[in-house]
């Protein structure tokens, strides 16, 4: 039993329970011996402030820079594709790779929480594909990418697609070492997604609007969507296409080919 408060948890934890109230009023308790001092309000001394100004994701960002240098040394353009689940990233990649693979050597890293379903679909394109299952994590990070780069990249690879976990929020915050981010949005989502999720849509160089073949069947305003995209990211490259019918796919593929020329 804890000698300070009489609670039973101390013995269950296998240690002595210890309660603090700090000078700033914060209180907590913990077992002894975890490296934390024994300060009490009556003996609390002076404090000093250490200025830092360092990115919280510094560790990730350093690895991302290493990835970027590694890719640049091999003259590979890497695109980080980010969208909600169901926007059609995998299908867009299937149709895109089929069109350009004879001229541009591609590779794919596919991120999902679970399953290698995307890999199995993309394997049919014949290009190297590595699946990363993130399990509890909602995004890919630079370290995961660095672990699979040597596996997926071949001597002739020029274009690497990184299909991030379907999620408009979290992946936008993690630099993977890509050349740039591509934000995707489908016509079955709200036209105002770009203003609802501005972190991604202001941070990407290209926006791809997918499933345009469905527009006639939907009450969906493409002009409004274009306006919202311009609002958050004036001058962004916008591609409007249907991977299913092939409409607009040519422009997108031409753009990709020019990137690696």
């Amino acid at each position: 039993m804890c000698k300070d408060c009489g609670c039973e948890t101390a013995l269950e934890n296998g240690g002595v329970h210890h309660h603090h109230v700090h000078a700033d009023g914060t209180a907590h308790s913990h077992p002894h011996g975890h490296g934390h001092g024994h300060e009490h309000p009556d003996v609390e001394g002076a404090t000093r402030t250490i200025a830092i100004q360092q990115r919280v994701l510094d560790h990730n960002d350093r690895i991302a820079d290493e990835n970027r240098n590694w890719l640049a040394a091999r003259r590979i353009v890497a695109l980080n594709l980010i969208s909600s689940p169901g926007t059609g990233k995998t299908m867009l990649l299937e149709r895109t790779i089929e069109r350009i693979r004879d001229r541009v050597a591609c590779a794919v890293i596919a991120g999902d929480q679970h399953t290698d379903n995307d890999k199995r679909r993309l394997d049919r394109t014949g290009v190297p594909v590595v699946q990363i299952e993130t399990h509890s994590s909602c995004h890919l990070d630079a370290e995961r990418i660095s672990q699979v780069l040597p596996q997926v990249v071949r001597a002739d690879t020029r274009l690497l697609f990184i299909e991030n976990v379907g999620n408009l929020v979290c992946p936008a915050a993690f630099d993977l070492g890509e050349s740039f981010k591509v934000g995707l949005l489908s016509t079955t989502e709200g036209e105002d997604k770009p203003v609802k999720y501005p972190v991604l849509f202001t941070g990407c160089r290209v926006v791809v609007l997918t499933k345009t073949d469905l527009i006639p069947h939907l009450d969906w305003d493409i002009a409004a969507c274009r306006r919202y995209i311009q609002q958050v990211n004036p001058g962004v490259y916008l591609f409007e296409l249907s991977a299913k019918t092939g409409d607009g796919l040519g422009n997108w593929c031409d753009y990709l080919e020019k990137l690696v020329m």
Binding site: L57, V199, N233
Partner: protein, 115 residues
């Protein structure tokens, strides 16, 4: 909830700094959340104590400073703080702006025990 990964990254970094500076116990950590950093303040406030539990930083206070997005206008040259849903110059309304601040999520400082 990528804020939990971020809280873990924050704790690892602070522990490294603490060791490097040979500093005493951490009393508080001040972070700076940029409006375009993709970090949600409330989610981070929720995640931090969870990530800090059972580490030497359990009980350290979290102080959050928020930085708005800042942009410089390519047409009139003015600096302004555009709202996230309308990236335009606050002075002339032009869309030709370049984001100059607000993307970062920084550890600003730590307050530690001792001289």
């Amino acid at each position: 909830m990528h804020e939990l990964s971020m809280a873990q990254a924050l704790i690892e970094q602070v522990e490294k700094i603490q060791a490097r500076e040979n500093a005493g116990a951490v009393v508080s950590i001040t972070v700076n959340i940029g409006a375009l950093s993709g970090v949600d303040r409330e989610a981070f406030e929720f995640a931090f104590p969870l990530a800090a539990a059972d580490t030497p930083l359990a009980g350290a206070a979290l102080v959050i400073v928020e930085t708005p997005a800042e942009a410089t206008c390519g047409e009139c040259g003015a600096k302004s703080n555009p709202g996230l849903s309308g990236m335009r110059c606050g002075a002339c309304g032009s869309h030709q702006i370049r984001i100059t601040a607000g993307r970062d999520f920084l550890i600003q400082s730590i307050e530690v025990k001792g001289e």
